[in-house]
């Protein structure tokens, strides 16, 4: 056993160093080089907006409070959509805190009698979900149209155009990117004003 231990020391130390250099330094640095050269947009967080003044990332959800915008899902990341504190609520299925929160959120929607799309009153796993379901978007059409003085049909058509479909029909779910649809909404306003 002692010989086994003695013969192990040099390879263990040398291999630790060599693997650390290869896997911990060379591998991530080489990938960073490849990413920055070939995919600079994605490798830096898929940021959109005027150069130098990003309004967000297409991949990361953000909070919308105004009636003029489509709202994202409730978020458990920090105080809501905190990009430095991704998290789910971690509330269990029979949790009173969960039931109370959902009941509160339903009340805030002011739409008694209509079944509520489940994603609109549940928190996502990351707290940064950029999407809502098409149902959740259609659910908000009336409020957005009223706040903007637009025809509901016009807003509904915008939702229709903004739905992303599952890849090959089965990979993923139909969804609407909230930041992108809200930017299009602002676009409609700008066109009319112009």
């Amino acid at each position: 056993m002692f010989t086994d231990l003695k013969t192990s020391l040099r390879p263990a130390l040398a291999m630790t160093l060599l693997f650390a250099l290869l896997l911990g330094i060379a591998y991530p640095l080489a990938l960073t080089g490849i990413g920055q050269a070939l995919f600079p947009f994605q490798a830096n967080g898929s940021l959109i907006g005027q150069s130098g003044r990003p309004v967000g990332s297409t991949l990361i959800g953000q909070n919308f409070a105004s009636d003029r915008y489509f709202h994202s899902r409730p978020s458990a990341a920090g105080k809501g959509y905190d990009g430095l504190a991704s998290s789910g609520s971690n509330l269990g299925p029979a949790s009173k805190a969960l039931a109370d929160r959902v009941a509160r959120d339903i009340q805030a929607l002011h739409s008694p009698g209509r079944p509520v799309p489940s994603d609109l009153v549940t928190t996502s796993a990351s707290g940064l979900d950029p999407h809502i379901s098409p149902d959740a978007a259609f659910f908000q059409v009336g409020r957005v149209a009223k706040a903007r003085g637009l025809e509901p049909g016009q807003v509904r058509a915008l939702v229709d155009r903004s739905i992303e479909r599952p890849l090959l029909g089965f990979l993923g779910e139909a969804r609407v990117n909230v930041l992108e649809i809200n930017r299009r909404l602002d676009g409609i306003g700008a066109n009319q004003a112009g």
């Binding site: 056993m1 086994d4 231990l5 013969t7 192990s8 390879p11 263990a12 040398a14 291999m15 630790t16 060599l18 693997f19 650390a20 896997l23 911990g24 591998y27 991530p28 990938l31 490849i34 990413g35 994605q42 490798a43 830096n44 990003p54 309004v55 967000g56 990332s57 991949l59 959800g61 909070n63 105004s66 990341a77 905190d82 990009g83 504190a85 991704s86 971690n90 509330l91 269990g92 299925p93 029979a94 009173k96 969960l98 009941a103 079944p115 509520v116 489940s118 994603d119 549940t122 996502s124 796993a125 990351s126 950029p130 999407h131 890849l167 089965f170 990979l171 993923g172 969804r175 930041l179």
Partner: protein
């Protein structure tokens, strides 16, 4: 569940089965030390590693030497990580100026990553610098995976060799698996992830001004490279707190699909390599069949329960499946499927929060881990864990007919059975023992977020995940405390190495045995009868011990959920 959901499961299983043979043959070439097409490019690196470490790759090792070298190497890596984390504040590539990682958290994380568990008591984006993510954590994702595969190779040699005193060379196995399998595949996967939107930068967080004028700060980093090996090596330690649910780790349904496949790819391949190693590929397919029976049963139950949804929310006027803790782009089916895959294998990455699953939907991931993660399992660890159950299964079959059992040409005698039982018993003893301790001490009871039976489930899940080296969590548990970091750290070490050592002892003993040819009286270890016996042994020996614990946690939780009794 929707038709689309079933189609997803069918596509996953179909593609997985296509992967079995090519991955298995590639691994078999590495097992044999044969030349691969990559040797032209990476051969000089391999030889350089041997020369600088003073190793002769052809020098054979007995099981004791193999075990000692493996242990010393893993200990060295553990110390490196502990040191780097403690010194984080003064090291470069720390754009957020994060402070040193606390002693108990560094202890926990170092063991966690060394043991292929990747339990995370911390939130990555607010705790670990870019250097820590790369140098202290990512290297373990490669090396703990390579260690698992090397150990599986050692056990294969035990079955395959005749009257041999040795089971291979640990260093040669490590270097070959890393250079010719893990590294090249991860480069390809990482490029795909980057193209799909996963960041890879050394810069710090970026601030944006939202449409409503608020500030939002987005954490970035060298994510893609870590993501690739995190899944392929069944590690599961994410860059961000939300792991594969975070859009920067797993931005699309396609990346999600690739992640699910890469969790299982090496594990299923190894069943085929085993068949090749013992000279009968049907032995490998028989094992895979038993794994798939257990896997599909779990998938069906979790998908059904999650799609059925939470009656508590239905009463409030929210119909449909359970979307709490799930991402819209994945939906119910891809979240439920991912949860079963990640716990069947010893991955532990999550794309949905298991803590918020329905009670029975969350029971399946818990039970998968308690079976010892032998349903495909971690890279290497899954197949050697499963072979321990195979030894028990032939023993039970031998008892029934009253003759000395044999398996793939080796007599299974009292030493093998005792050691296999010793390894398998580690799981229930450690999981239930530690859970019992945490359930009575104030420091343990301070952990759970949820009240009632679900709070107990959080504790049970934590120790199950630690001992089984999974790393997923019912994440409501506040685990970053000296009590949990310390106890879970010990649990992870026991769960890894207290199984490996008896397993290597079996490998050494088997290698020394003569070949016993199959006769008319041998119990056939291929075919449906054998597959059925394996499934039965895994469920009865592996699973039954945990029934009382599951009754107190998820099953009680389910009854509460159905009756609308809230905690």
């Amino acid at each position: 569940m929707t038709f689309q959901g079933w189609l997803l499961i069918a596509a996953f299983v179909g593609l997985l089965l296509i992967l079995v043979k090519p991955v298995g043959l590639w691994l078999f070439a590495l097992y044999e030390g044969r030349r691969t097409p990559l040797h032209g490019l990476l051969g000089p690196v391999e030889r350089g590693f041997y020369r600088l470490s003073g190793i002769d790759p052809r020098e054979e090792q007995g099981w004791r030497r193999y075990a000692v070298h493996m242990l010393v190497f893993n200990t060295a890596l553990l110390l490196l990580t502990y040191t780097l984390l403690r010194m984080q504040a003064v090291l470069p590539l720390n754009p957020q100026h994060l402070g040193a990682v606390s002693g108990h958290l560094a202890f926990n994380s170092a063991i966690s990553f060394t043991s292929n568990t990747n339990w995370q008591s911390y939130a990555g984006e607010s705790t670990m610098s870019n250097l820590s993510q790369m140098l202290a954590l990512t290297i373990h994702n490669f090396l703990s995976a390579a260690t698992g595969i090397a150990l599986a190779f050692a056990l294969f040699r035990g079955f395959a060799r005749r009257s041999s005193a040795t089971i291979g060379n640990f260093w040669a196995d490590m270097v070959r698996v890393t250079l010719y399998l893990l590294l090249p595949l991860c480069v390809l996967l990482a490029i795909f992830y980057m193209a799909s939107g996963v960041p890879q930068t050394l810069a710090g967080p970026v601030e944006v001004t939202t449409l409503e004028g608020a500030k939002q700060t987005l954490a970035l980093g060298p994510v893609a490279g870590q993501e690739a090996i995190k899944m392929l090596g069944t590690n599961g330690g994410g860059f961000f707190n939300a792991n594969s649910a975070h859009p920067f780790e797993n931005p699309t349904a396609l990346t999600n699909f690739v992640q699910m496949l890469s969790i299982f790819a090496i594990g299923v391949g190894l069943t085929h390599s085993f068949g090749k190693a013992v000279g009968n590929v049907r032995q490998g397919w028989a094992i895979l069949a038993a794994m798939m029976v257990l896997f599909l049963a779990g998938v069906a139950i979790t998908c059904w329960q999650e799609a059925a949804g939470n009656p508590v929310l239905h009463h409030l006027g929210v119909p449909g499946g359970n979307m709490e803790g799930k991402e819209v782009r994945f939906g119910i089916a891809a979240s439920a499927l991912f949860s079963v895959i990640t716990t069947a294998a010893s991955c532990g990455a999550v794309n949905a929060m298991h803590d918020s699953f329905t009670a029975i939907g969350g029971l399946v991931p818990l039970f998968n881990m308690q079976l010892g993660e032998v349903v495909v399992g971690g890279v290497g660890a899954g197949i050697y864990g499963f072979l321990l159950f195979a030894i028990l299964a032939v023993f039970v079959a031998g008892l029934m007919v009253g003759r000395t059992p044999e398996y793939v040409g080796k007599k299974i005698e009292s030493r093998e059975v005792k050691l296999a039982v010793l390894a398998i018993a580690v799981l229930p003893m450690a999981i239930l023992g530690f859970t019992a301790i945490a359930s009575v001490l104030p420091a343990g009871l301070a952990g759970p977020l949820n009240k009632g039976p679900h709070g107990f489930s959080e504790i049970l899940y934590a120790f199950t995940s630690a001992v089984a080296n999974n790393g997923s969590a019912f994440a409501g548990l506040t685990a970053n405390t000296p009590f949990y970091n310390g106890l879970l750290g010990v649990a992870m070490w026991i769960g890894r190495f207290f199984i490996i050592i008896p397993m290597l002892a079996i490998a050494g003993g088997l290698a020394a045995k003569k070949y016993t040819p199959e006769t008319a009286g041998s119990f056939p270890t291929t075919g449906p009868l054998w597959t059925g016996l394996l499934v039965g042994i895994v469920l009865i020996v592996g699973g039954l011990t945990f029934l009382p614990g599951l009754a107190l946690g998820p099953m009680a939780d389910h009854l509460a959920m159905v009756r609308g009794q809230l905690f």
